[in-house]
């Protein structure tokens, strides 16, 4: 039996109008075939996002998808919405301007581990601090995919990349902890093998009023997998089950970490807070000023 069909039957939730999710309704099909390598996790992330958008009943005309540069950044162009492919590391800054100018739009950012944590790290910190109503998906494949497999801020120790030819010795970022510490209202992580869970995590982010940071553990089968003998793409995806730590997981230091993933990598929703959303706070001030109720 086709596993995906089974998944759909079990997990498909319907929108208010009862329409079942059909990914084709959300894609620019005329752009296919897409650029992704066979087995690339970014495609699964895209499916999860579109499914979550469907469930949330978000109107495509009111959806703005802002992307950075990288394989992750190219994903947004396939979405049948208002899509913006911006510059490397800056999608959150573009999205900040867009969301402040157009609070009526649903703003989703798709970024990569290099885009979001290296060149764009400062924007992530400040987007989380402002807590503006943006949903940010960071597709973490622990590598610079687009530029041919250089090490990134999430490349695990000893991993071979084109810029760590003797194995990586730099420590990694825990992006979720970073986002949480900086003030993001909603923070979570999920792996691509659990598509329905990933969908629900993203749906939670879309529904949350504030900055939602979602780290998607995605596999770069091509320039990461092959160089490190991580197996075929199905093997890589299955490998996620051995390395992820579900929400109820208790960390056991005796457990030997799987070489694919950094130690203690948990999944689930880590933060869900009602910190004030910045856009609303700003508009409240602006309205009072317009009515002459506050002195500038």
């Amino acid at each position: 039996m086709n596993k995906q069909v089974a998944l759909k039957a079990d997990d498909a939730k319907k929108t208010a109008d009862g329409k079942e999710f059909n990914i084709r309704d959300y894609l620019r099909l005329d752009l296919f075939p897409h650029f992704m390598c066979p087995g690339c996790g970014h495609g699964i992330a895209l499916r999860a996002l579109l499914w979550a958008i469907h469930e949330q009943g978000i109107d495509k005309d009111k959806l703005a998808v802002v992307c950075g540069i990288g394989c992750s950044g190219r994903v947004g162009g396939y979405i049948d919405a208002n899509t913006f492919h911006t510059t490397h590391g800056r999608p959150l800054a573009y999205a900040t301007g867009l969301k402040m100018a157009r609070p009526d739009l649903h703003v989703v950012v798709i970024t990569g581990d290099g885009d979001c944590l290296a060149i764009g790290g400062n924007h992530l910190i400040h987007a989380a601090r402002r807590n503006l109503d943006i949903t940010c998906l960071m597709l973490n494949n622990e590598i610079y995919g687009m530029t041919g497999g250089q090490g990134s801020p999430t490349t695990p120790r000893d991993r071979f990349t084109t810029t760590t030819p003797a194995g990586n010795r730099e420590p990694v970022f825990d992006a979720c902890k970073l986002a949480e510490a900086a003030g993001a209202g909603y923070v979570g992580r999920e792996v691509t093998i659990h598509l329905p869970r990933l969908r629900d995590l993203i749906a939670g982010g879309l529904a949350h009023k504030g900055f939602s940071f979602i780290e998607v553990m995605s596999d770069c089968t091509e320039v990461n997998g092959r160089k490190n003998d991580l197996g075929s793409s199905p093997e890589m995806v299955l490998g996620q089950t051995r390395t992820m730590r579900p929400p109820d997981y208790e960390y056991d230091s005796n457990v030997v970490d799987h070489p694919f993933r950094p130690s203690g990598l948990h999944t689930g929703v880590f933060v869900q807070s009602d910190r004030p959303e910045y856009g609303a706070a700003y508009r409240d001030m602006s309205e009072k000023l317009q009515q002459g109720r506050t002195k500038p």
């Binding site: 911006t86 100018a101 317009q290």
Partner: protein, 385 residues
């Protein structure tokens, strides 16, 4: 009525504040910036003005983010601006190029200070003349307006919005510390027409719309998010449908239209001041604040019987080449007076058609060029004949 001057509609205004007020008068409703001397008063004034008119003021984490947020707001459909100075202007370059390539209107103000690097934060300079032209990578269309007084700052900032909206491209407003901090009594010009100039929005059937197909003026109508067009915007080189292309003929067509739309609309863009150029033997070319010193020098030289004139480009880029040639037709000497080690002089040497001898008058010590400096140079070049 102004109590100080007794004149109608006059106000005492600082250059940077005039910039902020000119922007609001032109319909600017979004500003994102990062503090830097000598431009900070623009941000400070807009922090006060914008929320009071329902606009957005954002202090971003750096100048890169400020440029990006400004473009993001404009992509959402509102008139947007950022302002900075030297080091911050350097940081904006990559995203400024994105605005030029993806054709996103916005206004970028650069209040010049001494460089290189941190340089002279509180002193004037004109060291960014070439950076405004060539700062971002690749071939790109550029419009730069260089006002020379507080009144002109107000007016040209407002005009920058109109040009930017109409031609769907970022417009740079360039002046320097001395003008930014100068307080003058000014009569605020009427900028209602600039305020009314808004970009062409896509209408009609989304199926028929090509986001990067230029109209006769070279400018494609823009799709506003939420209007049902659901287009793709990218910094990659795109075909008329807005999606990336590497086909040589499509790349070539895009580049020709992109660079051509500025040339095509030059009548609209060009602006300059010419003083006593018709019979001038010596024409001084001066930009911004140096134009003030040059105007005084020309007057005094004329009184002393020397046929001097002034050519001041208000539109710096594209340089008003044809008008410059006309105005300097009779001249034997051209003196390019600039507060840098020699930047505008290269353009002048390239565009002049006659046999005029071109001499540079340069100061880069943080002190504005004075009428005395100019008169001395004029007498030197005439004496050397």
């Amino acid at each position: 009525m102004n109590s100080m001057t007794g004149q109608a509609n006059t106000v005492n205004l600082q250059g940077n504040k005039a910039c902020a007020l000119g922007a609001v008068a032109a319909g600017c409703r979004f500003f994102a910036g990062y503090p830097i001397t000598p431009s900070s008063e623009i941000a400070e004034n807009l922090a006060k003005e914008l929320p009071a008119v329902g606009g957005v003021f954002l202090q971003m984490e750096d100048e890169i983010a400020s440029m990006a947020a400004t473009l993001g707001a404009s992509m959402g459909g509102i008139k947007a601006m950022t302002a900075t100075s030297g080091p911050g202007f350097s940081l904006k370059q990559e995203n400024l190029g994105y605005g030029m390539g993806a054709e996103i209107p916005c206004v970028v103000v650069n209040v010049m200070r001494g460089g290189p690097s941190t340089g002279l934060p509180t002193r004037p300079a004109q060291g960014d003349i070439m950076q405004t032209r060539w700062g971002t990578h690749g071939d790109h269309p550029v419009i730069v307006l260089a006002p020379g007084s507080v009144e002109e700052i107000y007016q040209q900032t407002a005009r920058a919005f109109a040009l930017s909206e109409k031609l769907r491209t970022p417009v740079i407003v360039l002046f320097d510390e001395s003008l930014g901090h100068l307080v003058e009594t000014v009569a605020l010009p009427d900028v209602a027409d600039y305020e009314k100039t808004v970009r062409k929005w896509a209408t009609g059937k989304p199926e028929d719309y090509k986001p990067y197909h230029g109209d006769a003026d070279g400018v494609p109508p823009m799709a506003r998010p939420g209007d049902g067009f659901r287009v793709h915007t990218s910094g990659l080189t795109v075909a008329e449908n807005g999606f990336p292309t590497q086909k040589p003929h499509e790349v070539d067509a895009l580049m020709k239209r992109l660079l051509g739309k500025v040339a095509l609309n030059n009548d609209l863009i060009e602006s300059f001041e010419a003083v006593e150029c018709k019979d001038a033997e010596v024409v001084i070319v001066a930009l911004g604040v140096v134009g003030r010193a040059a105007r005084k020098a020309v007057k005094e030289l004329r009184e002393a019987g020397i046929k001097a004139g002034l050519f001041r480009p208000v539109t710096l880029w594209p340089f008003p080449t044809e008008s410059f040639r006309k105005q300097t037709a009779k001249a034997r000497h051209i003196i390019v007076a600039e507060m840098n080690a020699g930047q505008l002089i290269h353009e002048i040497a390239e565009v002049k058609t006659g046999k005029q001898k071109v001499t540079g008058l340069n100061r880069y010590d943080g002190v504005p060029i004075s009428p005395v400096d100019i008169k001395k140079t004029v007498k030197e070049v005439l004496g050397h004949e």
